[in-house]
């Protein structure tokens, strides 16, 4: 009924005593997420929001058997936090922090090669939610409902738009994964689509892409080999001028690579319907 995350996932929050970390931990708890601990250097031994706080992730994992982490630490410390989680044996690492230097993330990606069991989502992403069960990150549970649509997106707010519309139309979601818009990130469209393919409860798929990079094209290649999912894709930034970097999101196009057109064509070639606006998605998915 979900990928990556469900009600049994044992979650820690890195940076739980911070403002953001604390606020969203409460939201996660409200949905029923099994938050088993938090970390905050120097605050080990205390408790916060009803869970124990540890100095290090290693300590938290040892004491609680946590297997997932949500990272809410400031950008200068976020890359280190990801590596700490992986080294401590966390297998699902969700990094919400935005503004992490690209070189930090390139080093992190290489570091993670040493931990093949660890999956990173983000950074600079809204995280993921399995409606009605659990979430790690900041996707508002209010706009989601349990169901069979898998949703994967590079954009935060567009995800919310689409989830809202799906929920309003009675089309619940199996899991919603915001993979983030940074140029160097963890799980890709393709990785997440593969997981949805294997989840028997997911029957529909929505992909929300963006200009820049070739990740959408790679997912389309996978879907072109045949998929049991009814899929709709949407690409934002089709009218963005060439060579302009659209925000920290790193959406930038150079030459013919990474344009909205190339991505839309890739999906069409794969037999995936392409929506012109997010408003069209629900209708096309039925």
């Amino acid at each position: 009924m979900s990928i990556l995350l469900d009600a049994s996932t044992r979650v820690i929050v890195q940076g739980i005593t911070g403002r953001e970390g604390g606020f969203h931990t409460e939201q996660m708890q409200e949905l029923g997420t099994k938050v088993v601990a938090g970390t905050s250097p120097g605050r080990g031994g205390t408790a916060h929001l009803g869970v124990p706080v540890f100095n290090t992730v290693a300590d938290a994992v040892k004491a609680t058997g946590a297997n997932a982490s949500g990272i809410f630490v400031p950008a200068p410390f976020a890359a280190d936090a990801i590596m700490e989680a992986a080294a401590a044996g966390i297998t699902l690492i969700v990094c919400i922090t935005e503004g992490i230097p690209i070189q930090d993330m390139i080093r992190v990606k290489d570091f993670l090669r040493g931990y093949p069991g660890a999956r990173l989502i983000g950074a600079n992403c809204p995280g993921l939610i399995t409606p009605g069960q659990a979430k790690i990150g900041i996707i508002p549970q209010r706009i989601t409902r349990p169901g069979q649509v898998g949703l994967v997106s590079r954009s935060g707010t567009l995800t919310y738009e689409v989830a809202s519309a799906l929920s309003a139309a009675g089309m619940g979601q199996s899991t919603i994964v915001g993979i983030g818009g940074d140029p160097v990130l963890g799980l890709t469209f393709r990785d997440v689509v593969e997981l949805f393919e294997k989840d028997p409860e997911t029957t529909h798929l929505v992909l929300i892409g963006e200009i820049g990079g070739s990740d959408e094209e790679h997912a389309a290649e996978l879907l072109a080999r045949g998929s049991r999912l009814k899929a709709v894709a949407f690409i934002s930034g089709r009218t963005a001028p060439e060579g302009k970097r659209m925000g920290h999101a790193g959406a930038i196009i150079s030459g013919n690579r990474g344009t909205a057109r190339s991505k839309e064509e890739a999906f069409q070639k794969a037999g995936v319907a392409v929506a012109e606006t997010t408003d069209d998605i629900v209708g096309m998915l039925r």
Binding site: G156, E210, A251
Partner: protein, 380 residues
């Protein structure tokens, strides 16, 4: 932050790379003095974009008079939207051959990539398109940096085997720009091999990751003030906004890069032309909205503004109140359409209407409204 050529060269020189003797000139007199000191020079416009040669931004000067005239012509020139603040006067080199060498982020590989080509001095994107085999590539491990044998291999692949040793030494220095300065691009094109066999940076591009600005305050202090391009973008940066200037007349504000880009698409689809991209990030506090509106209203071309806010956690009524306050503080009279969602979105829409602001239920509806209102020229 894209450094100017002379700034990039100063950084490369600090990494041990040889650069030609050169002097910055802010006026024709200084250019004449530079000639007196250096002899024949290239007078080069300092702007953070490529293509300045074609735009007339580089002139050779073989006399003080020519140096003076070149500076006169170039300083103040507009190159792709950048007003040239100063020129760099550089001693002419005794060129035997020109090589391309550069690092950039290979997004698909999630890694840095070294590009090396015997076809130096040309636009590398053009080379990549026309003869991709002329460019040898290496993805160095980000912790190790490029290793000697990797650099030898890539030199032989590029047909530059006889220069393998000096190239390896140079590339290792250039690579330091990545860990030491968070370079996203560090490029030397052309890398000049002189007839004496020296390897010298003919031109240099260096782009430092803005996300890592906190690690490189020194760079910003030394160079930041000169990097003024588009005045709205400069102002937006000061106010902490993610802002990109575009050509149209409808100001756009959104929260989240994806939503913001999607809003551009919708406006264009509705027949309008966006004046900018402006992402105010999560939430939508009155203060931030006000900052964004202020920057957008600086642009006299703007005829109306569309705000598209998806309130994941933010309450609609609060967003509405914030927008109203911002508009009132700025005494804005242009058409304003606000599309927002979230808890209490209906209350929010009510507040907007009461204050003469057009609410929209969907982004598409809002886009159509703003296009219609700006066409009608309301508020002008």
């Amino acid at each position: 932050m894209k450094l100017l050529e002379y700034q990039a060269k100063e950084v490369l020189a600090s990494l041990g790379i040889t650069i030609p003797p050169g002097v910055v000139a802010r006026n024709p007199d200084e250019a004449a003095t530079a000639f007196a000191k250096l002899g024949p020079i290239a007078v080069k416009a300092q702007v953070p974009v490529g293509g300045r040669g074609k735009a007339g931004g580089i002139k050779l000067a073989r006399s003080e008079d020519e140096a003076r005239r070149a500076a006169e012509q170039i300083i103040g020139m507009d190159i792709k939207g950048f007003k040239v603040p100063l020129v760099y006067c550089e001693a002419a080199l005794d060129i035997a051959r020109e090589i391309y060498v550069g690092f950039t982020v290979d997004r698909d590989a999630r890694a840095n990539v070294l590009l090396l080509s015997a076809k130096g001095g040309m636009d590398i994107e053009q080379v990549a398109e026309e003869s991709p085999e002329a460019i040898a590539r290496l993805h160095p491990n980000p912790w190790r940096g490029p290793l000697d044998f990797e650099l030898a291999q890539v030199a032989y692949e590029a047909g530059l085997g006889e220069l393998a040793r000096p190239l390896a030494a140079l590339v290792k220095k250039l690579y330091r720009a990545i860990p030491d300065y968070d370079a996203l691009t560090a490029e030397i094109n052309p890398l000049v091999v002189t007839r004496a066999g020296d390897v010298i940076a003919g031109d240099a591009k260096l782009e430092v990751d803005d996300n890592a600005a906190w690690r490189h305050r020194d760079l910003e202090e030394r160079y930041g003030s000169l990097l003024e391009g588009d005045p709205y973008e400069v102002e937006a940066k000061k106010r902490g906004l993610t802002y990109v200037s575009l050509d149209g007349d409808i100001g756009i504000i959104g929260n989240g890069a994806g939503l913001c880009m999607g809003t551009l698409d919708l406006v264009q689809r509705a027949g309008g032309k966006p004046a900018n991209f402006c992402d105010i990030g999560g939430g939508a506090k009155a203060e931030v909205v006000e900052n964004a509106l202020a920057v957008i209203l600086m642009n006299p071309k703007v005829k109306g503004v569309l705000i598209n806010v998806f309130g994941g956690i933010t309450r609609g009524d609060e967003v509405a109140k914030g927008v109203v306050t911002a508009r009132d503080n700025l005494k804005m009279r242009l058409p304003l359409v606000v599309r927002m969602s979230g808890t209490r979105e209906e209350e929010g829409r009510k507040i907007l209407k009461e204050n003469g602001i057009e609410p929209g239920v969907s982004g598409w509806e809002a886009a159509q409204k703003i296009v219609e209102l700006t066409r009608a020229g309301v508020g002008r």
